[in-house]
């Protein structure tokens, strides 16, 4: 399989400006991660709130500045790309937002919203051609052409998300980043949008980076799964083997918390609860970032940060595994 995105030692830090008597502080949102994304796959990024998954996604499309490291996409390094290169990236990598309604300008009609990326990135295109493309894309995502002059507030959440998807797809991108794109939707609508995404992926040969905290959906849609904790990769591997044999203690705890839709199993299930909260990304712990909550932590975990190693076909960063 061909690599489409190559991420090496990527760091995204945010500086919190210090006041007169306050020192400057740094949020380590993404703290040195390595992974590749292959063409045509769906990679799921999971982790609890504040683990840096959204910062990573936003960094990949230019909404957050990459502090250091590299992210190679089509021979363009996103960490150092200039605005011209970013325009090339925008043509091929698009983003679908969490809140479908907030992502649409309430002062613009559906046609204007969907056409905006095309008109901006391909200014030489004729208006009629743009309009044809808008209509074709609307059909693709299941919107009817007579809704073209409506405003976003006239639509339901699910339809708004379809408009958002149409806006992303009109550029015919290769990569689609979905940042919690279905978590704001009702369950039935969620299923529709997930099916739509899968259908579009097959039709258009899309690569999807799917960010979610809903492990059920991730299991349904993704080929590979990346587990993040406090800006670091804990485990990365094939979906089936991650769900069947999670290696990292954090992945194990995360997966044990997923409810099972069978009352008999659910009753006897052992949920492995973690103590404490996510440590502050302002001051990540020394050594392994998970050591404050890890039930199996050893001395080495407190002193040395584990590297990602290949164990049983999983990339795992943990000292206790061999």
């Amino acid at each position: 399989m061909k690599k489409i995105l190559e991420i090496r030692d990527l760091k995204i830090h945010f500086n919190i400006a210090g006041g007169l008597f306050k020192p400057k502080q740094t949020v380590h949102a993404v703290d040195g991660i390595n992974f590749d994304v292959f063409e045509g796959e769906t990679i799921g990024i999971v982790g609890e709130s504040g683990c840096g998954k959204s910062s990573l996604a936003r960094g990949l499309c230019g909404l957050n500045k990459i502090t250091s490291g590299s992210a190679l996409f089509n021979n363009i390094d996103l960490a150092t790309a200039n605005s011209k290169e970013w325009n090339e990236v925008h043509k091929q990598m698009q983003f679908i937002f969490q809140d479908p309604v907030a992502a649409l300008d309430p002062r613009m009609t559906v046609a204007e919203i969907i056409a905006e990326p095309l008109e901006t990135l391909y200014p030489e295109m004729k208006k009629t051609a743009v309009m044809d493309k808008v209509l074709a894309t609307m059909k693709l995502v299941g919107l009817s052409h007579n809704q073209i002059n409506r405003y976003p507030q006239e639509f339901s959440g699910g339809q708004c998300q379809r408009i958002g998807i149409a806006r992303a797809l009109i550029l015919e991108p290769k990569v689609l980043i979905c940042d919690e794109s279905v978590s704001a939707l009702d369950v039935s609508i969620k299923a529709q949008i997930i099916n739509l995404l899968q259908e579009l992926q097959q039709k258009l040969k899309l690569t999807i980076i799917f960010i979610s905290h809903d492990l059920g959906i991730v299991k349904h849609i993704c080929n590979r799964i990346l587990v993040m904790y406090l800006g670091n990769i804990m485990e990365l591997g094939d979906k089936k083997s991650i769900y069947a044999t999670p290696l990292h203690p954090y992945t194990q705890a995360l997966l044990s918390a997923v409810p099972v839709a069978n009352p008999n199993i659910e009753k006897n299930k052992q949920v492995q609860l973690l103590d404490g909260d996510l440590p502050s990304p302002l001051k990540p712990p020394q050594g392994c970032v998970f050591n404050t909550r890890c039930p199996q932590a050893i001395d080495k975990c407190h002193s040395e940060r584990p590297q990602c190693r290949l164990i049983n076909q999983h990339m795992v960063s943990c000292h206790i595994l061999n």
Partner: protein, 290 residues
Amino acid sequence: MFIKAKNLNLETPKTKGFWLSVFGRLSKNKLAMTSAFIILALTILCICVPIFSSVAYDKTNWGEIMQSPSSGHLFGTDSLGRDLFVRCFIGGRITFGIAFAAAFVVLLVGIFYGAIAGYIGGRVDTIMMRIVDVLYGIPFLFFCILLITLFGNSMALSFIAIAAISWLDMSRIVRGQTLSIKHKEYVEAAMISGVSNFKIISRHVIPNLLGVVIVYAALTVPNMIVLSAVLSFFGLGVTEPMTSWGLLIADGSQNMQAWWLLLFPASLMIITLLSFAFLANGLRDALDPR
């Protein structure tokens, strides 16, 4: 507006443009429409009455001092025998003029200043807003008296004083709005679509800001009217024989036995203020469809 499907041969239902639908909603609000009509009528009267009236506003008539309202003098006459009807509307001219002009300056400076501070952010924002904070600390009347002692009493000066103090609120409101719009997901979506900063401001930020600004402008106009009245009441700004509603009310309050001297200018002022308040209220509802 860069794309409209009007010219395509599609069976698209005609949906109105944004401002048309706002007007549609506003026109259903009877109170707001009545208010708008009253404001319009008063403006026309202020322009026309002094032009077409047979008596000049400063024509004294010793034979008709302190006459109560009659068919000859609709609002009666004052202590110098001048016709109050004409004086009320020439005063309205001054009051409305100062209010609208000041509101215009406030809109212009306030939006400009606030949008720059909000969009650039960071240190520029901090410095610009601290300047506003400092200006807030200057008492209005003290500021006016200072201006007048320095440059002499004139109408232009009262206009400058009002505008100089009133843009502060507007710039704060615009800055706050810009800050919140800047982080909306649709602005981020536009960034990902490669839209330039200038186009983001003109296409996404300003149209979404206008609703709040228009409502606040409608609320600012009565504020200006009150301020210019306050200035006139203290004898600053407009001077005799020219007059304004504030001066007429001050005059009337000293001659309480001639009730018409207070009643007519005061009612005109109250009607105007209420109309603006109701119009602003209606605009707010009409601009926010949700």
